[in-house]
């Protein structure tokens, strides 16, 4: 499980996150929605430490991540090697440019297990094939990313994230850059992951899809969680006025 307490993040003089508290239970899927600039992507990137944060705590299965009190009691970043170990427990898929263009699809997927987790080549390859079959791209193993459609690339990116056997998957608007007809195949893959009961955090604009897959939805406004709850409550019976306006705009 993930426990986030009092997360605060500023970019220079601008404070973007004003103290986020959020718990994610094992196997839970949480969707982060909100207007552009509300901080939902920043929150996601703090979770796997692609952004540093000034205050607050993120714990994974009880272990505090990213910062540790130093010998003098002051808050210190954990050493780089440990940060790498912590990052391996999380998989992330970005909106685009995920895959390394100079490697085949299979090489992209096995890169992490082979070089970060010291998995042997044959084992990694078997794992890669299994995962690619799972996302429906076994036939494209030897292809290069440039030869794939956007939807196919995103599916490979998901397979690559899964190859690390992460405890949590982070998705940063992974269908926003896709042509509409390609969105479905990517959403199908995410649906199929629900049975794995991995923790997932999705930053998304697709409110309809969030309703379908998320156990809880968090509406973020001005760097804080304005409303949090199951889709039936947050989307059908919104209490926050900003959220009501946001949903009105999204549906219209």
């Amino acid at each position: 499980m993930i426990a986030i307490r009092g997360l605060q993040k500023s970019f220079g003089a601008v404070q973007v996150l004003h103290g986020i508290d959020l718990d994610i239970a094992d196997g839970e899927v949480v969707a982060l929605i909100g207007r552009s600039g509300c901080g939902k992507t920043t929150l996601l990137r703090c979770i796997n430490f692609l952004e540093e944060y000034e205050a607050g705590e993120i714990c994974l299965d009880g272990e505090p991540l990213w910062y540790r009190p130093g010998s003098d009691g002051a808050r210190r970043r954990v050493p780089e090697a440990e940060a790498r170990r912590m990052r391996q427990q999380m998989g992330i898929v970005f909106q685009q440019y995920n895959l390394f263009p100079h490697m085949t699809v299979l090489d992209n997927v096995v890169l992490g297990p082979r070089f970060s987790q010291a998995v042997s080549a044959p084992e990694a390859e078997a794992l890669g094939r299994r995962l690619l079959a799972r996302v429906g791209l076994e036939g494209k193993m030897a292809a290069y990313p440039a030869q794939l459609s956007g939807g196919q690339q995103q599916r490979v990116a998901i397979a690559r994230a899964l190859a690390m056997r992460p405890k949590v998957l982070l998705f940063d608007e992974i269908t926003s850059a896709l042509d509409p007809e390609l969105v479905g195949e990517v959403e199908d893959v995410i649906r199929s992951l629900l049975s794995d009961r991995i923790m997932m955090v999705l930053v998304t604009h697709a409110v309809g899809f969030a309703r379908e897959v998320a156990h809880r939805i968090a509406y973020i406004a001005d760097g804080a969680i304005a409303e949090l709850g199951p889709p039936s409550e947050v989307l059908d019976r919104p209490k926050d006025p900003g959220l009501k306006e946001f949903l009105r705009r999204v549906r219209a």
Binding site: N48, L50, A81, R84, R85, R87, Q88, M90, G91, I92, F94, Q95, Q96, Y97, N98, L99, F100, P101, H102, M103, T104, L111, G112, F115, S116, Q117, A143, Y144, P145, A146, Q147, A157, R160, M164
Partner: protein, 218 residues
């Protein structure tokens, strides 16, 4: 035209090619170090890089060579003109290659960096499997360009009495006055070398492009 001239020019061409080769190898190694400095965490190191590039790119190669040769007699006495000449070329091309590599690193899209970090790749693996291949593919045309510039730059060393193709040509001309033939031949040698390097570069680009990566040749 005496046959001896052709032999001399050929020798000169070989010397020019060797000078350029030495400069390209040394310059590439120096450039990797410099490019690493350009991305250092420490501002002081980054400033050293910028100053180095500013000075080397803003001063004519001939002046740099003269500074090294006449103003540092220690270097000149202990080492031959060829070593000193190669050294100047290395200093010069190192700055040019470093800017090429720096541009290549900056061209890598941010999500690729972050994907590599998120996979928890250790630094050596990240460098070997991500940075080097990507930078190579992004910078190949510019790299080949600098290689061609290096071959042409080697002719400048003739002015400080490093014997290579241009000096060979000049010496023959001052003896025989066969200006057109000799310079024509010298030009032909340089053309073959430079054009050849350019063609090799394009072949390499095509080979890399076949492996699914679209190059950035204008």
């Amino acid at each position: 035209m005496p046959a001896g001239s052709l032999a001399l020019l050929t020798q000169g061409a070989v010397v020019s090619l060797l000078l350029a080769a030495g400069a390209i190898i040394g310059g590439t190694l120096l450039a990797i170090l410099l490019a690493a400095m350009a991305f250092s965490r420490f501002a002081a190191v980054r400033i050293v890089y910028r100053v180095y590039v500013y000075i080397v790119r803003g001063t004519p190669l001939l002046v740099l060579a003269l500074i090294l040769f006449y103003a540092m007699p220690a270097l000149d006495l202990r080492t031959g003109p060829y070593i000193a000449g190669t050294l100047v070329l290395i200093i010069y091309t190192g700055a040019l290659f470093a800017e090429v590599f720096r541009g290549g690193v900056l061209a890598i899209p941010r999500p690729q960096w972050e994907s590599a970090r998120s996979l928890g790749l250790p630094p050596l693996a990240m460098f070997r499997k991500i940075v080097v291949p990507l930078v190579t593919r992004y910078t190949l045309p510019s790299y080949v360009n600098v290689c061609v510039m290096t071959v042409k730059a080697s002719s400048v060393l003739s002015i400080i009495s490093v014997w290579e193709l241009t000096l060979a040509a000049r010496e023959i001309i001052e003896r025989t006055f066969a200006v057109f033939t000799i310079l024509g031949l010298a030009a032909a040698f340089y053309f073959v070398m430079c054009f050849g390097i350019d063609r090799l570069g394009r072949m390499l680009e095509r080979h890399l492009a076949l492996r699914g990566f679209a190059g950035v040749r204008a």
